[in-house]
């Protein structure tokens, strides 16, 4: 194992995959000469050159469209979205094209692209730069969607994404890039899609989350432990495909569940998780499934209001209290 941070785990995986396979290339805005807005691609332009680390104009629909075409021709593009909010501009290429091509061609054509970048709120970036869109993508058959919470998960899932023959949406979070952790010394380390992880064991209530909200749940679990409540935290990490079994197994043990997500509360992917637990675990539940989501508003700029919008550990503790 080697100590690293989330950003560098991603970077290391990119380097190893590019060294392994000449078909893997990076494309995006300010990723090369400028080293990447969040420095995930730092040094890669110097190491691999402009053939494989492609700086683009500001033109997201065409970047993803070009990546689709390159993938159809056999390359393995890894697209960086400077923030996932800008992927909205490329929705047509992602949803109307990438997600449909394999099916529409009856399996004749593959589109192995990865679209990665930070999703969710950072610090006062306002309404157009703070959105959590993974639920939109996880709604869409033909895409795979992951949202790792730790450096090791980022490292293993990114490799799976790059080696996967389907379009993958890989959501990071601006608040995670500096997170410390360890990654295995293994250039073939992968984490299969559709495998959730128990981030903390407990017997009294299950907290279900992905990406940065896993850490919010872990903080809440600490507080709850002080009250004598042992929370189990399930890190979903892969939304599509979803490891329903691991979630259900935990709920069958604890009999209580709260789903936690940063996305707008209403209609988010967490609602899908809650629905599955309700549907498949009804007899095991001692209380209705709880939910904690972001407020149903565009993200305000001013810090006091922004902090209200993003779920925190107190909100999670309150939700657990409300179950009883």
């Amino acid at each position: 194992m080697a100590a690293t941070i989330y950003r560098d785990a991603l970077r290391q995986c990119l380097i190893e995959e590019m060294e392994r396979d000449d078909d893997v290339f990076l494309i995006g805005e300010d990723i090369g000469r400028y080293q990447g807005t969040f420095r995930v691609t730092a040094g890669l332009f110097d190491q691999f050159g402009e053939r494989r680390v492609v700086d683009t104009p500001i033109t997201e629909p065409a970047i993803v469209g070009l990546a689709n075409g390159a993938a159809m021709a056999g390359l393995r593009p890894v697209v960086e979205m400077m923030t996932m909010s800008f992927s909205i501009l490329a929705l047509d290429q992602i949803i109307n094209h990438a997600a449909k091509i394999h099916y529409m061609t009856g399996g004749e054509i593959k589109v192995p692209i990865v679209i990665r970048g930070p999703g969710g709120a950072a610090n006062q970036l306002s309404a157009q730069h703070s959105q959590s869109l993974e639920g939109w993508y996880a709604h869409c058959p033909g895409l795979k969607v992951v949202a790792p919470a730790t450096p090791a998960c980022a490292y293993g899932l990114l490799r799976s994404a790059i080696r996967d023959d389907n379009p993958v949406i890989f959501t990071e979070n601006p608040g995670l890039y500096g997170l410390k952790g360890e990654i295995p010394d293994d250039k073939d380390f992968t984490i299969p899609f559709g495998s959730a992880r128990i981030a903390r064991e407990g017997k009294d209530v299950t907290l279900i989350a992905y990406s940065r909200m896993v850490h919010v749940c872990l903080a809440a679990a600490q507080t709850l432990a002080g009250e004598g409540v042992e929370a189990e935290v399930v890190d979903v990490r892969s939304l599509l495909p979803l490891d329903t079994e691991t979630i259900l197994a935990s709920v069958r043990k604890t009999h209580r569940a709260v789903v936690v997500y940063e996305d707008w509360r209403s209609g988010a992917f967490g609602a899908e998780i809650a629905a599955r637990v309700g549907e498949l675990c009804f007899d095991d539940l001692d209380a209705p499934v709880g939910r904690v989501g972001g407020l149903n508003v565009p993200m305000p700029y001013t810090r006091p209001l922004e902090l209200l919008c993003i779920p925190n550990d107190h909100d999670v503790v309150d939700a657990v209290h409300r179950l009883n």
């Binding site: 700086d55 306002s126 309404a127 305000p300 209200l308 909100d315």
Partner: protein, 338 residues
């Protein structure tokens, strides 16, 4: 590019002083914003207009303020201030206060002041260009002789939606001016790495749009070009595209702290020779329009004014928690709670 033509300038000393004051005010306002950011009083993205002042002062000085429409991306403090927005409200917005132009909900990138004809304030690069066409469409529809002035960056000039918009405004003769603020950089990417043809003014040509490249550093030259082009668009009720050559002396945003990745100190030093403030000061000296003492007094007066604006803004409260749900809709509240 037209040559600067100081010699044949017909501007009164009072006008020169006003332009000097206006540009200096923007300069000091932006420097204060940067300082406030460093002091933790401003969050998020902060993009200042240092070096680009004539694009606001010159061009907006030639429109019918409060009548014509202005729309710009996110480097926009200068536009709001020059259009006459209350500077305390501008600063208050940048500091996230309830009395800010956007009630603390928008921040530096999202300033709006419709009474002054200012339609913001947009964070999605290129996204505001068809909106600008829509403003002009409304005026043509109602048969009003307003024009719309749409600012955009050189980076934004690559967005597909901008080309689609140019086609429409060319097709329908909309009374709009696209003003490309060519400061040579889109974040950390130099124009030669982002544009296949770096002469961005040509982008209007295929759509039958009157297109030209003009200077953006010498405020008097800027005003002459602006007046000519604005008059033409108003008279002909047809669009124009102008590439205004300028330079971004500051980083892309307040958090851009490794500028060596995209430019050399030598380049900045050379560009500094055409710093708009230095140019107008040189002009004032050359024509003996003010004494050195007077220039220094003006500078000190403006610094003090900006300090005062800052302190007034800083004394204003943040929004109340309940305001988070306001303005999602015009007529209802969203579902509350987590």
């Amino acid at each position: 590019m037209a040559k600067p033509a100081h010699k044949d300038l017909i501007a009164s000393p009072a006008e020169v002083e006003q332009d000097y004051r206006d540009m200096l005010f923007l300069r000091h306002f932006e420097e204060k914003c940067n300082a406030a950011y460093r002091a933790g009083k401003v969050g998020g993205y902060l993009h200042v207009y240092i070096g680009m002042e004539p694009l606001a002062v010159g061009w907006l000085g030639c429109i019918k303020k409060g009548y014509d429409r202005v729309i710009a991306p996110y480097r926009i403090h200068g536009h709001a201030l020059t259009l006459g927005s209350d500077p305390v409200k501008v600063m208050a917005e940048i500091m996230g206060r309830a009395a800010g132009l956007s009630h603390g909900k928008g921040g530096s990138m999202h300033l709006y002041d419709v009474e002054k004809g200012f339609y913001g304030g947009w964070g999605i690069v290129g996204g505001h260009t068809p909106i600008a066409a829509g403003l002009a469409f409304a005026d043509k529809y109602r048969n009003e002789d307003r024009i719309t002035l749409c600012y955009l960056g050189d980076g934004a000039a690559n967005a597909g939606v901008f080309f689609e918009t140019l086609n429409m405004v060319g097709l329908w003769d909309l009374p709009i001016i696209f003003l490309i603020e060519n400061n040579l950089f889109a974040m950390g990417t130099r124009i030669e790495y982002h544009a296949a043809d770096t002469e961005l003014w040509k982008r209007g040509v295929p759509f039958g749009i009157h297109s030209e490249r003009v200077d953006g550093m010498d405020v008097f030259q800027v005003k002459r070009d602006a007046q000519r082009i604005i008059d033409r668009v108003r008279r002909q009720q047809k669009p124009a595209l102008v590439e205004v050559m300028t330079y971004r002396f500051a980083g892309h945003g307040a958090a851009d702290n490794d500028q060596s990745l995209y430019r050399t100190p030598k380049e900045v030093e050379e560009a500094r020779r055409r710093d708009p403030i230095a140019l107008i000061e040189g002009f004032i000296r050359e024509h003996n329009l003010m004494t050195q003492e007077k220039m220094e007094a003006i500078d000190a007066e403006i610094v003090e004014r900006v300090e005062d604006i800052y302190h007034q803004a800083d004394a204003l409260p943040f929004p109340e928690p309940g305001e988070v749900y306001e303005h999602v809709y015009t007529d209802m509240l969203p579902e509350e709670g987590h």
